[in-house]
């Protein structure tokens, strides 16, 4: 009988220890970057070297979009409000792509600090509302931030 109780206690202790250790390790992992996702500020700070493939996310700076003469290549700049990254992409852009839109681009930095993307995905924010409401909020300056922006702020 006594052994039974001792065993149960041991069992619970092991469970707590195991799950606790796992939680600790996971939280340590989340302190670091697991997904090759970098903000323009991190890129500007030189956290990635040219040639390393990674993803960069941010808002397309209004007025920065220029079509190249070949008709299929675009250049624009991305920002997280603290720094900017110039991006070049050749291919079909997503429907949602427009100035001020959140996007995630994948590619590499060339030697000059230009990000050459091989894929551009749109990442809209999590707000759903009719256009009139959006306009009104914008006019008041009360439009909620794009979630990507919020997450990127330290």
């Amino acid at each position: 009988m006594k052994t039974a109780r001792k065993n149960r206690l041991l069992l619970i202790l092991t469970l707590v220890a195991g799950v606790g250790l796992a939680a600790l390790l996971v939280s340590l992992a989340f302190r670091e970057n697991l997904t090759f996702f970098f903000t323009p500020a991190q890129v500007a700070a030189g956290e990635v070297r040219p040639g390393q493939p990674f993803r960069v996310g941010g808002l397309v700076i209004p007025g920065s979009v220029e079509r190249q003469p070949d008709g299929v290549t675009v250049r624009f700049r991305l920002t997280d409000t603290r720094a900017e990254v110039p991006v070049q992409y050749t291919g079909v852009l997503p429907d949602l792509f427009k100035e001020g839109q959140g996007i995630v681009a994948r590619g590499t930095l060339d030697g000059t600090g230009l990000f050459v993307a091989d894929q551009v995905l749109a990442k809209h924010d999590e707000n759903y509302m009719p256009p009139e409401v959006a306009d009104a909020l914008k006019a008041q300056g009360a439009m909620p931030d794009h979630e990507m922006m919020r997450k990127m702020q330290p």
């Binding site: 220890a17 600790l24 390790l25 996971v26 970057n33």
Partner: protein
Amino acid sequence: MRTSLATAWWAVLRRDLLLSARRLGELGNPVVFFAAVVSLFPLALGADAGLLRSVGPGIVWVGALLACLLSLEGLFRADFEDGSLEQLLLSPHPASVLVSAKILAHWLVTGVPLLLITPLLGVLLNLPPLAQTVLFGGLLLGTPTLSLLGSVAVALTLGLPRGGLLISVLLLPLFAPVLVFGAGAVGSALLEMPVLPYFYMLGAELALAVTLVPLATAAALRASLGS
């Protein structure tokens, strides 16, 4: 006066290791399978060196995973068929603890040999030294998790005809995270980016599996034998 749990645990571990040692020829099997799968891909993909280098770590991990999967089938089957497993469950000692000895034996006999030849394969795939260390470290943390998770699936499918395939179906979702973080670590190392977060995740999975799996496996064995 009863023998201690530790004695029984050791006896089970020793028994399984002895059984494997008796079939020394088979100790090599997972390793040969592993090496063969890894060398099948160059055959299937043609000899594009650049392509191979970039898919190399992924292939090594998938190979290790499949080798483990195949060897798992034998984890309880023989014992089930000859009635040894019945006797194990009838023991006064907690089945989950005894089962953990069997799983450990499985890892020692299949996971460790895989680890031992990984450096060789790393050289063949032309991986830089850092990536090789990371591959080894990842497998060191990952293969015990594979053995552990595998044991649950094997226990669940015990005695079912064509259990082999069912095991794979059950295991693939369970193995996927190990694969993602294990292969991810090597990929990261190849790009000279930080690998520690991957190791944390692999470690977390191992910690969870070590504590929870023996209980689940013991329960699964009881279910399989109870009918």
